[in-house]
């Protein structure tokens, strides 16, 4: 291990600005402009380190896009395997039904090599799948002739910049040129994914983070004379958690509270069933992988979103969060630069447990895109 990297506190954030240690910075800058940009989040430190060439690869965790969004913002490959593929032992739980670890690397080949090492059953994580792990690297033939790639029209957003739209179109052409069949598909419940996520993830977080009570480890607030156990909990958690974490724990508490459990939490879990069903239905029609943009924009300036409301920040995950809700493998591949010289990524979503096939399609896309740009060294 070379070192540990920065991330948003408890993996909650899309810009690295909610890190306890201060944010990491994106090695990329806009052409002729020194404005520091976000590396994305939550695995922003990992993304920045790989993009800057500080290491060959890094690990990340992805609950709603925390590997794929920072990878797209920094021009690297970010791979989230199927839910349960990698053990999560040693990772602090955020939302246990969504969390998955994966590699962040310079190339798809490196991601395949790292994933083969990371995946597999672990008795210490009861959700880790007891399935043989193939040699993912050996599956990178680059041959995707006859594969069927789905293009979901629900991923076309009104507010989407033309550059993202154009990149997506180029991705379709590249895969078609490589011999794949491109097919329009529909994932009708996509628009409910982000609201469902922002019920389910905070609900699980509020439960997982209940253990941070100041009793067994971590911070404990200094108490006044006469303070009892409840004051200790309340002061400890107010001091110890950052603003975004507190916000999510409280939202989670609210949606799980008596009287709201059915209206929010159970409803979100039903919507999640529908989102997963959308994917199952398109895969049943013979779709091998789904191509979407990775993010709705290129990396933006640090501080740019701090004045925005929390929901504006959450929209960063609009293309990635469906994959976690459905437990599928997803990969972000750098595919081009925007007019300001910043990297843009495309996302491929695969069938559950068929990571080798997904990585091969990603490899074909990577080869066709020929993304070789690097950030100019200023650090």
């Amino acid at each position: 291990m070379l070192g540990k990297l920065n991330m948003d506190e408890f993996a909650m954030g899309s810009t690295n600005e909610s890190s306890v240690y201060g944010n990491a910075v994106n090695p990329w800058r806009r052409q002729g402009d020194d404005t520091p940009l976000t590396p994305g989040g939550s695995s922003g430190g990992s993304a920045a380190a790989v993009a800057a060439g500080l290491c060959l690869g890094a690990t990340g965790t992805d609950t709603g896009g925390s590997i794929r969004q920072p990878a797209a913002f920094t021009g690297i490959t970010g791979f989230k395997p199927t839910y349960g593929r990698c053990s999560r032992w040693g990772i602090i739980a955020f939302a246990s039904s969504l969390d998955q670890a994966g590699p962040m690397t310079r190339t798809v080949r490196d991601a395949a090599i790292m994933a083969s090492a990371m995946c597999g059953h672990d008795p210490k994580d009861s959700t880790s799948a007891d399935l043989a792990v193939p040699d993912f690297e050996a599956m990178l033939t680059g041959d995707i002739r006859g594969k069927v790639i789905g293009i979901p029209h629900e991923y076309r957003m009104d507010s989407m910049p033309d550059e993202i739209e154009a990149l997506w179109a180029r991705g379709r052409e590249m895969l078609a040129d490589a011999g794949a069949e491109i097919r329009d598909i529909s994932l009708p419940h996509t628009k409910y994914a982000l609201p469902a996520y922002y019920v389910i993830a905070p609900a699980e977080a509020s439960s997982n983070l209940a253990r941070y009570d100041g009793v067994r480890y971590g911070h404990r607030a200094r108490l006044e004379a006469g303070d009892g156990i409840t004051e200790m909990y309340e002061k400890t958690r107010a001091e110890g958690f950052g603003a975004e974490v507190k916000r999510r724990v409280m939202i989670g508490t609210y949606v799980l509270s008596a009287g709201f459990y059915d209206a929010y939490y159970n409803r979100a879990r039903k919507v999640r069933t529908l989102i997963k069903r959308d994917f199952e239905e398109v895969f049943a029609t013979g779709i091998d992988a789904i191509l979407t943009p990775a993010t709705p924009s290129a990396a933006f300036a640090l501080g740019e979103m701090t004045q925005a409301d929390p929901v504006a920040m959450y929209l960063n995950d609009v293309f990635t969060v469906t994959v976690n809700l459905a437990g599928l493998p997803g990969i972000s591949v750098p595919a081009g630069l925007d007019a300001q010289g910043l990297p843009l990524g495309l996302q491929l979503i695969g069938r559950p447990r068929e990571e080798g096939d997904l990585l091969n399609t990603a490899h074909a896309l990577e080869t066709a895109a020929g993304f070789v740009a690097k950030p100019a060294k200023w650090w």
């Binding site: 009892g228 929010y264 039903k270 919507v271 409301d309």
Partner: protein, 95 residues
């Protein structure tokens, strides 16, 4: 659905997070923004749909009900903010 400062205070209490009175209006406003966004779920037709319990078809692994770890009370207590005589120490729990 609108969250007032009283509800915000109740949620903070349930979450065991102290929020100063002066900060409650801003917190209530944030809740309203986020819950307003979540309200979209009401449009979804979920009639007859089962709520998801597990995203994978896999049954959780079971293991023998045996002790696999332990006998390290000192190491565990070394992480505690306050420990005395082999116990976690906390302020008084009962009046």
């Amino acid at each position: 659905m609108s969250i007032d400062t009283e509800t915000a205070a109740r949620v903070a209490k349930l979450a065991r997070i102290r929020v100063e009175d002066a900060d409650l209006p801003a917190l209530a406003q944030e809740f309203n923004t986020i819950l307003g966004f979540i309200e979209q779920l009401r449009e979804a037709d979920v009639e007859g749909v089962e709520p998801m319990v597990s995203v994978t078809p896999m049954r959780l692994k079971r293991r023998d009900d045996t002790v696999t770890d332990g006998n390290m009370a000192d190491r565990i207590l070394a992480n505690a903010p306050d420990a005395r005589e082999g116990f976690f120490a906390v302020p008084k729990v009962m009046e």
